[in-house]
């Protein structure tokens, strides 16, 4: 099967009721790697991820995959900033994306059991998903996005409400996922996490990509004063 990557954004812009949220953004996501999107609140990180994934309509420019957009959709995953829990049991929530793709019930549940094991969700399979704790919901979201084995996974601050241990768990899962060849794009406010995981960094400011650089270069010797200040934890406007 032909890869859906690279993903190419050309002057991609998003408006909402006349107001510009993000753009114009031009960048290319290479077929492999871990891209970290950072920047202050309201910089447009969420909007950029939604734009790439196709949840946010392009009002200018374009977002182009290596295959037609209709084929690309099924091969992406998205983990939302606040987990969306279906009113179902955990097992049925996990099975849902598989069932959407036409997998039979028995086969889906078998895969669910296996997947739940990898994510430490085995004990919770019979629980009602909306009743889970914040961390458990986040893990379920991640498992649900990965169960279809997407080629690229977008994560919008997946560790925002998690404690250190849960964050480490998620990070180790993400490393495994990356090792299997999945392309990762994630936003975070945690600079330590960005340094630990990133291959390249997109620094957003005021709806624009202020800097897009290799991780090492970015954190050691960033070229712009705004990025330097942000890395140091200063307030950037």
């Amino acid at each position: 099967m032909v890869s859906i990557l690279p993903l190419k954004l050309t002057d991609a812009t998003a408006h909402m009721r006349g107001k510009k949220l993000v753009g114009p953004v031009s960048l290319t996501l290479a077929p492999t790697g871990f891209t970290m999107v950072i920047g202050p609140n309201g910089a447009g990180k969420t909007t950029l991820l939604r734009l790439m994934h196709g949840l946010q309509r392009c009002t200018g420019g374009e977002v182009v995959w290596a295959v037609p957009a209709t084929q690309a959709r099924d091969r992406q995953g998205f983990v939302f900033q606040s987990p969306i829990m279906m009113r179902r049991k955990v097992a049925d929530s996990l099975a849902y994306p598989l069932r959407l793709r036409g997998m039979g019930k028995a086969a889906a549940l078998e895969k669910v059991a296996q997947c739940a094991g990898n994510f430490g969700l085995s004990e919770l399979l019979e629980s009602w998903a909306p009743m889970l704790s914040g961390g458990e919901k986040q893990k379920l979201s991640l498992a649900r996005a990965l169960i279809t084995e997407p080629e690229i996974l977008f994560l919008d601050e997946p560790c925002a409400n998690l404690d250190g241990r849960a964050t480490r768990e998620i990070e180790s899962i993400l490393r495994q996922v990356q090792a299997r060849g999945t392309r990762l794009v994630m936003s975070t406010h945690n600079m330590g996490q960005a340094k630990r995981l990133a291959d390249d960094v997109i620094f957003m400011l005021g709806g624009k990509v202020h800097e897009h650089a290799e991780s090492e270069g970015f954190f050691e010797a960033s070229s712009t004063p705004e990025a330097k200040a942000f890395i140091n934890g200063d307030i950037v406007e």
Partner: protein, 234 residues
């Protein structure tokens, strides 16, 4: 006063002794109303979901019309159904006037807007919650509606029960299109109207008691379903 107490005891006697005339009427009422509720749900639930999920040009108007239809006076519905089914009407050839089928048609017209409207509100809220997830998972239109109907099933059951409550207590339209014919189209409400008119209070009250019990049971069910719905979403 003695009219009331006499009537009350006579009514209990009819219920307890399984009076065949009384039970014939009860069964016909349930048969007509349950059929109407099933048909109206099959039409109304997906219609409400469809209106909640799809953006199209006249959506606002469609919802306004739906809400207006909810307020249709049942007597007028009865009149229209009567005209449509009468010998000279467009559907006169089926010979349905004064049959249970005619009553079912009238009830379906009365409660479908109600069921569709409650379903629309429920599904709209759930859709707001699920929108990004279902789009992200690339669910087709039909798959989205299915997921919303399934996950909103408790709230939708409430809509169905509300439809039942409205239909079982309806009298005007049923009277017109059914004709209140003994052993054929006489149901709880029309029988009460008739027996009261004849001064046959015992029988009327027996029917009334049954109707009250049914209405209370439905409201209790709505309450219970609503409660579990809230508990399970939280």
């Amino acid at each position: 006063m003695s009219d009331y107490s006499d009537g009350f005891w006579a009514a209990w006697k009819l219920i307890i002794t399984l009076d065949p005339d009384l039970y014939e009427i009860i069964f016909l009422s349930l048969q007509v109303t349950i059929s109407a509720v099933i048909i109206a749900s099959i039409i109304g639930l997906p219609m409400g979901a469809w209106l909640a999920v799809n953006r199209f040009k006249f959506r606002r108007y469609a919802i306004a019309v739906l809400n207006a239809l909810m307020g249709l006076p049942p007597v007028v519905v009865g009149l229209f159904v009567y005209m449509a089914l009468s010998r000279a009407g467009p559907l006169g050839g089926f010979g349905l006037l004064f049959s249970p089928a005619a009553m079912i048609i009238a009830q379906v017209i009365i409660i479908t807007p109600l069921i569709a409207s409650i379903s629309h509100q429920t599904i709209r809220d759930l859709w707001a919650e699920y929108h990004d997830l279902l789009i992200s998972m690339n669910a087709t239109r039909t798959q989205r509606i299915k997921a919303l109907l399934w996950d909103g099933k408790r709230a939708l059951l409430t809509a169905t029960l509300a439809g039942f409550g409205r239909a079982i207590g309806e009298v005007g339209a049923i009277m017109i299109v059914g004709g209140n014919i003994e052993h054929a189209t006489r149901v709880l409400t029309t029988a009460i109207a008739l027996e009261t008119g004849k001064g046959n209070f015992a029988f009327a009250m027996g029917l009334g008691l049954v109707l009250i019990v049914l209405a209370v049971m439905i409201n209790l069910l709505i309450h219970i379903v609503g409660k579990t719905e809230r508990a399970s979403t939280w």
